[in-house]
């Protein structure tokens, strides 16, 4: 019987010819990642249990991104723990400040995660790398500690769900809108424990960036992973960056899926997820009058060059509304530099936005743009839970970069056409 791309990768990494959903396996990992929130706890576990070894010094990344540049003394000490551990062990992939960005933008950009890999990261949005045709999933600190020492992870083979997208997209409809639409359709636990496989003509026509955005939010439907079969677009992205060999897998014709969803995208408008769940997706024409205090363009979901470019195009020659703070955060130093060279940052600054150094910052209500009581924000990030970006009395609306930029100009949530 055939296997899905997910089953094939898991079989290859666990020494099995075939695996089936619900099989419990111990699998070899190709790459492991921890950040400034999750890695300090993992490192303290390793010390506590006397596990001193690192399975492969070139296959571990430590990325301070959440509260870095450090927002306070505690945050600075957490980064110190990562830095000292990396130095002591000889871990090469420690990224700080000038080299640091948001992990899920940084690792693909640097060619550290590759097609056919099995990747785990102590961050729920590790599912992002499925966009390159890898099996990639988020775990906690103890799993991270175990994987750093042992180079393996225990996994239950997930059932696969197939999501097929065909048709022609309307203007200003991006990967972000399709994933919000999908989460709205299946709910925040609609893909619980499952691998979400994205297929179809629309996916094939997407850039790597849009694919990364879609796989990034698989977790928001409860998914264990998101995955897209690698193709020529993947090859073009990966080839110049890869620092080791990689392999392309694809699902068999007769692979089994727990469920298949088919979407015709023709009628899908830009989507906005209303507070307080990503599944509260709503076509922008039905959002109504929502005045905003803040607009955030950044995060691991939509903080790449392409996203900034989309936002800049909408905002060029206009002014940010006097009641709105627009915060723009390129996800990595390379994106920052490229955006500078292309004049994108200038466009934002001239419009009255503030541009920050790469960090997760406001996405998780960390710093650099925390919301106060009763404030509303439109954000290009991935979560709008109660208190996600600050006060439990604030509200977050999720949208694509064009809607974020347009809304910053209008002072309320609008379709990009409304400010042209």
């Amino acid at each position: 019987m055939g296997m899905t791309i997910t089953e094939k990768i898991l079989a290859a990494h666990s020494g099995n010819k075939q695996v089936r959903p619900d099989d419990l396996i111990m699998a070899k990992v190709d790459f492991v990642m921890g950040n400034d929130v999750t890695a300090p706890l993992a490192i303290s576990q390793l010390k506590k249990y006397g596990l001193g070894g690192v399975f492969d010094l070139s296959r571990v990344a430590l990325v301070p991104s959440h509260f870095s540049p450090p927002k306070d003394i505690k945050a600075a000490n957490n980064v110190r723990v990562l830095r000292e551990f990396a130095k002591e062990k000889g871990i090469v992939n420690f990224f700080e400040l000038g080299a640091a960005g948001i992990e899920h933008a940084l690792l693909p950009e640097q060619g550290l995660v590759l097609p056919g890999d099995l990747v785990i990261g102590a961050d729920s949005h590790t599912c992002t790398y499925g966009a390159l045709g890898a099996f990639s999933t988020g775990v906690g600190s103890t799993d991270l500690a175990y994987a750093i020492a042992m180079g393996e992870v225990w996994l239950k083979v997930p059932p696969s769900l197939k999501f097929c997208y065909e048709g022609k997209r309307q203007p200003y409809v991006y990967g972000k809108d399709l994933i919000l639409y999908t989460i709205g359709h299946v709910g925040v636990d609609g893909a619980l424990y499952c691998a979400m496989e994205f297929v179809g003509g629309v996916i094939e026509s997407m850039s790597i960036q849009e694919r990364l955005t879609m796989c990034n939010m698989a977790i928001e439907a409860g998914g264990k992973s998101g995955i897209i079969s690698p193709d020529a677009t993947t090859e073009a992205f990966v080839k110049p960056r890869a620092k080791r060999p990689y392999s392309f897998y694809a699902s068999d014709e007769d692979a089994e899926y727990e469920r298949i969803y088919e979407f015709c995208v023709d009628g899908i408008e830009p989507q906005v997820a209303l507070p307080n769940l990503p599944s509260n997706a709503c076509p922008i024409s039905e959002v109504g009058e929502v005045k905003i205090d803040q607009a955030f363009l950044g995060s691991c979901t939509n903080g790449c060059l392409e996203d900034l470019e989309i936002g800049a195009k909408v905002i060029k020659g206009k002014r940010v509304h006097s009641d709105v703070r627009l915060i723009v955060i390129p996800a990595t130093p390379t994106i920052y530099k490229d955006a500078m060279e292309k004049g994108i940052l200038k466009t934002f600054l001239e419009a009255g936005a503030v541009v920050s150094t790469p960090t997760c910052g406001p996405c998780l209500g960390g710093y650099m743009g925390v919301l106060g009581d009763g404030e509303k924000a439109v954000s290009s990030s991935n979560r709008n839970f109660v208190g996600r970006m600050g006060s439990p009395k604030s509200e977050v609306y999720l949208a694509n970069p064009a809607v974020v930029a347009a809304s910053a100009v209008a002072g309320k949530i609008v379709h990009p056409d409304d400010v042209q």
Binding site: Q45, A122, M150, V188, D189
Partner: protein, 167 residues
């Protein structure tokens, strides 16, 4: 092994920002985190909860981020077990890996009100509402996961494995 305690009932989709808001993530001290457990869901929770209490919840408990701090906050607040209709997977892993008792049982939320007393028999998976005299059975724990639990968590499991490999 059995555990008995007073129940706190929560709804569906209790997320990790609700269990422990990101603003407290610069520490992983369980006591410190426990003092803010469930703060944005019920601001008084940490002052009302007592050691040995049990959380009962609906679907998808622990959805959201991978922060193990959510498990630590629950443990730090003295909570002995979480019983839910279903768990978000990273939260579930974190609980197994660090030895917080978590059991999935269909319909569990409907059987309890806050303040009821629950008795859980871990081996058989029997969950009894002693106040209402009703009982139900949790989903069985797979053998491999039981091995991790028996070892005392994933890190103990790693230690044992390394010792066996060295022999």
């Amino acid at each position: 092994m059995t555990t008995q305690g007073r129940v706190w009932v929560f709804g569906d989709n209790i997320d990790t920002d609700g269990i422990i808001p990101a603003r407290y993530l610069t520490t992983f001290d369980a006591k410190e985190l426990g003092a803010h457990c469930m703060e944005d869901v019920d601001p008084e929770f940490s002052s009302k909860v007592k050691p040995g209490d049990v959380l009962v919840a609906g679907k998808n408990f622990g959805c959201g981020s991978s922060r193990e701090h959510a498990v630590l906050a629950i443990k730090g607040a003295g909570i002995a077990a979480v019983l839910a209709e279903s768990f978000a997977r990273i939260f579930f892993r974190n609980a197994i890996n660090t030895g917080l008792l978590v059991l999935e049982a269909d319909g569990v939320r409907g059987v309890f009100d806050t303040g009821d007393t629950v008795r859980v028999d871990v081996k058989s998976g029997t969950i009894v509402n002693e106040t209402k005299g009703r009982s139900l059975t949790a989903k069985p724990v797979p053998a491999f996961i039981q091995e991790i639990l028996d070892a005392g968590g994933l890190m103990e499991y790693a230690k044992k494995k390394l010792q066996t490999d060295a022999r």
